[in-house]
C-alpha cells in the first residue's frame, strides 16, 4: 500500500535512496524513502522534507512511543491513517503500522516545530475525517503548512520572474501581489473556520473516549461469557471485573434480536410504537437503568465498583437470559421455562451477587445490594418470558374453551407455519361462532 514496514532498528537502510540531491535548506540530507506527497513540500530540491517514515533520521521524534501512554484524545491522529495508529500501538505488524508510523512521525515533527501547537490540541477526532475522505495523506494542518510554503515559494519565484522580464514581468508582479494577498486572506479565513469546526466536532463526536473499553480479543470474550455462568467461591477477596463494553453491548443486541423473534412468534401487536422500538427500549433500558440504579445503591452501601464495571457485570449477566429465552421461545414448555429460569438465570444471578458481595463490607449492605440485584434480574427474565408468551396462550385458551378444562397447560410446539395457519383458523372459527 504505502511502502514497506520500516525497520525497527536504528541501523541504516541498505538501499540507495530515491532522492539524490542533498537539500540546501535542511542540514542533513535525508536518505529515506518517502511518500511522493512529502516530496512536494520542498520545492527547491528533490529531497523529501524531513518528515517521513521512521528510518532513524535526526528530525524525527522516536516512533509512536509517547502516544501510547497519552490520553485517548491525544492518541488519535487526524487524517486517514488515524485508526492505523491505534493498530500500531498494539504492536500489530501490518502495513498500516508503517503508514501510522509515518503520519505519527510527521505530526510529531510538526509538534516539535511548534508551529501547530495550538491546532494539535483540538484536532483529535477519529470518526469522520471530512477533509480526508479518500485520501490517505497526513494531517490537514500539514497540508496547510505545505500549501503556505508552496505559496511563499511561488511568490518569491513570481517576484523573481517578474523582476527578470519587462512589462510582462511588471504586470505579472502586480497581479501576483494582489492575487497573493487575496489568497492569503482567504486561506486564513479557511484555517480559522476549519479550526473552529474541527474543535467543536472533536468535542462532541469523539468516540476515542470509548476506545479503551473495546480493546478485547475473541478468546477473552469467550472466556468471560463462560465465566459469567460460574459463581465464584471466594467472597472474602474482591473479585476482578473486567471493564469491557464490547461483550455486554453484543449481548444486549442479541437479546434484542431474540426478543424480536419472540414477539413475532407470539404475534404481539403494539399499538403505539413499533416492535423494534419496544425490544430495543426494553433491553437497553434494563441494561442502562438497572446498572445505574445498582451503582447508586453501591454508592450508598459503600461497595467498590465503578460504573463501567457495573455495566460490564450486568451485561454479561444477560448471557443467561439470552440462552433461556432462545430456548423457551422456540419450545413452549412451561415447566422447561421454570427449570431454565431457576437454573440458568439463577447461576448468572449467583455469579453477579457473589462478585458484588466480595466487594462490599458489612452484612446489611450486602443484603440490600445483592437482594435488589437478584430480584431485578430474575424478575426481568420472568417478565420477558410472560409478556410475549401470554398472547398465544390467550388465543388458544379462548379457542379451546368449551372443549378443554381451563387451567390445563398443554405442551405445544408452534412452528412458524402453523402459527399463521392457526391465526387464520382462529379467525374462521370466530366468524362461524
Amino acid at each position: 500500500m504505502r511502502g514497506l514496514p520500516a525497520p525497527r532498528s536504528a541501523a541504516l537502510p541498505r538501499r540507495p535512496p530515491r532522492a539524490l540531491v542533498p537539500c540546501p535548506l535542511s542540514p542533513v540530507p535525508c536518505p529515506c524513502r518517502s511518500a511522493p506527497r512529502a516530496a512536494a513540500a520542498h520545492p527547491r530540491c528533490l529531497v523529501p522534507a524531513p518528515r517521513h517514515t521512521q528510518d532513524g533520521s535526526t528530525a524525527h521524534p522516536p516512533d509512536a512511543r509517547p502516544r501510547e501512554s497519552a490520553l485517548p484524545l491525544r492518541a488519535s491522529h487526524p487524517g486517514g491513517a488515524a485508526l492505523a495508529s491505534g493498530g500500531s500501538q498494539r504492536g500489530a505488524g501490518t502495513m498500516s503500522a508503517a503508514a501510522a508510523g509515518g503520519s505519527g512521525g510527521r505530526s510529531g515533527t510538526a509538534a516539535e516545530w511548534g508551529g501547530f501547537e495550538d491546532n494539535m490540541q483540538g484536532g483529535g477526532s477519529a470518526v469522520i475525517d471530512m477533509e480526508n475522505m479518500d485520501d490517505t495523506s497526513g494531517s490537514s494542518f500539514e497540508d496547510m503548512g505545505e500549501m503556505h510554503q508552496r505559496m511563499k515559494e511561488e511568490e518569491e519565484e513570481e517576484g523573481e520572474a517578474g523582476a527578470g522580464e519587462e512589462e510582462d514581468g511588471e504586470f505579472l508582479g502586480m497581479k501576483g501581489l494582489r492575487g497573493q494577498l487575496g489568497r492569503q486572506v482567504a486561506d486564513q479565513m479557511w484555517q480559522v473556520g476549519k479550526r473552529q469546526a474541527s474543535r467543536a466536532f472533536s468535542l462532541y463526536a469523539n468516540i476515542d473516549i470509548l476506545r479503551p473499553y473495546f480493546d478485547v480479543e475473541p478468546i477473552q470474550v469467550r472466556t468471560r461469557l463462560m465465566e459469567s455462568m460460574i459463581p465464584v467461591k471466594m467472597i472474602n477477596f474482591p473479585q476482578k471485573i473486567a471493564g469491557e463494553l464490547y461483550g455486554p453491548l453484543m449481548l444486549v443486541f442479541t437479546l434484542v434480536a431474540i426478543l424480536l423473534h419472540g414477539m413475532k412468534t407470539s404475534d404481539t401487536i403494539i399499538r403505539e410504537g413499533t416492535l423494534m422500538g419496544t425490544a430495543i427500549g426494553t433491553c437497553f433500558g434494563y441494561w442502562l437503568g438497572v446498572s445505574s440504579f445498582i451503582y447508586f445503591l453501591a454508592y450508598l452501601c459503600n461497595a467498590q465498583i465503578t460504573m463501567v464495571q457495573m455495566l460490564s457485570l450486568l451485561g454479561y449477566g444477560l448471557f443467561g437470559h439470552c440462552i433461556t429465552l432462545f430456548v423457551t421461545y422456540n419450545i413452549h414448555f412451561h415447566s422447561l421455562f421454570y427449570i431454565f429460569w431457576l437454573g440458568v438465570g439463577g447461576l448468572s444471578t449467583l455469579r453477579m451477587v457473589a462478585v458484588l458481595v466480595s466487594r462490599t463490607v458489612g452484612h446489611t449492605q450486602r443484603l440490600i445490594l445483592c437482594g435488589t440485584l437478584a430480584a431485578l434480574h430474575m424478575l426481568f427474565l420472568l417478565y420477558l418470558h410472560f409478556a410475549y408468551h401470554k398472547v398465544v396462550e390467550g388465543i388458544l385458551d379462548t379457542l379451546e374453551g368449551p372443549n378443554m378444562p381451563p387451567f390445563q397447560r398443554v405442551a405445544r410446539d408452534i412452528p412458524l407455519v402453523s402459527n399463521a395457519v392457526l391465526n387464520t383458523t382462529a379467525k374462521a372459527i370466530a366468524l362461524t361462532l
Binding site: 540507495p16 424480536l260 413475532k264
Partner: protein, 230 residues
C-alpha cells in the same frame, strides 16, 4: 543522528554521491516545476459544464458497478474507494416498501413497518461501523456504511422472491422455499460484507467484527422470512 552518522561514514547511504557536496552559496540552476494541485478548479469547471445526462449516467454507472461487485464479492478496493450512498438508499427504500403492509391484522401497523426497517438498517449500519472503528479498524465511516448498504442487495432480491412465492400461496412448501432462499441470501450478504470489511481489521479480531454484521443481516432476514401479506 543516524543519518548524520551515515553521511559521516559515507558508505552505503549515498552510493556514488559521496564526493558531491553542495554548499549554500552556489546557486542551483534549472527549472523546477512544483506539482501544485491546481488541476482541481479546472476539473470542477469541466464537470459543471457537461450536460445533466452525463452526470446522471456517470453516477448510475458507478452504482451499477458496485452492484456487480456485490454480486461477485472479490477483494477489490473499488467499492471502498469511491463510496456513495445512492445504492444503499435505493435498496433500503425498496426493501422497506416491500415489507410494508403485512404481518398484522390492524391497519396502523403498516406505517411503522417502513420506519422500522429504515431505522433498523441505518442505525444498525452506524452501530456496526462504530464498533469496527472502536476495535481498531482502518476503514472510514462512510466507506463502511456504503459496504453494509450495498450488501443488503441479496436480501432485497430474497424479499422479491418471497413476495412472488407468497402470491402463489402460503403453505408448507412455500415456507420451505422461502426459508431456503432467505438463508442462502443471508449467507451471501454476510460473506460479501465480510469480504470487504474484515480486511480492514487487525487479523485476530475479525470474529469480533463479523458477529454484529451477522446479527444485523439475521434481523433483516428474519423480518423478510416472517413477512405475511394480508
Amino acid at each position: 543522528m543516524a543519518a548524520a552518522e551515515g553521511s559521516a561514514d559515507g558508505g552505503p547511504l549515498f552510493a556514488g554521491l559521496a564526493d558531491v557536496s553542495i554548499s549554500g552559496d552556489i546557486p542551483v540552476e534549472g527549472e523546477i516545476t512544483v506539482p501544485v494541485g491546481s488541476r482541481s478548479p479546472d476539473e470542477d469547471y469541466s464537470t459543471l459544464d457537461e450536460p445533466v445526462k452525463d452526470t446522471i449516467m456517470r453516477d448510475l454507472k458507478a452504482v451499477g458497478k458496485k452492484f456487480v461487485h456485490v454480486m461477485y464479492p472479490k477483494k477489490s478496493s473499488a467499492l471502498l474507494r469511491d463510496w456513495d450512498l445512492w445504492g444503499p438508499l435505493v435498496l433500503c427504500v425498496s426493501l422497506a416498501l416491500m415489507l410494508q403492509g403485512g404481518s398484522a391484522d390492524s391497519k396502523d401497523d403498516g406505517g411503522p413497518q417502513f420506519a422500522e426497517v429504515f431505522v433498523i438498517i441505518w442505525f444498525g449500519a452506524v452501530v456496526i461501523t462504530l464498533n469496527s472503528k472502536l476495535l481498531g479498524g482502518t476503514i472510514s465511516f462512510f466507506q463502511s456504511l456504503c459496504v453494509l448498504g450495498y450488501c443488503i442487495m441479496p436480501l432485497t432480491v430474497a424479499m422479491l422472491v418471497c413476495r412472488l412465492v407468497l402470491l402463489a400461496g402460503s403453505g408448507t412448501i412455500s415456507f420451505i422455499i422461502r426459508l431456503i432462499v432467505v438463508v442462502a441470501m443471508f449467507g451471501w450478504s454476510t460473506l460479501a460484507s465480510t469480504a470487504f470489511l474484515a480486511d480492514s481489521q487487525p487479523p485476530n479480531r475479525k470474529g469480533l467484527v463479523v458477529y454484529p454484521i451477522f446479527l444485523f443481516y439475521f434481523v433483516i432476514s428474519w423480518m423478510i422470512l416472517t413477512f405475511t401479506p394480508q
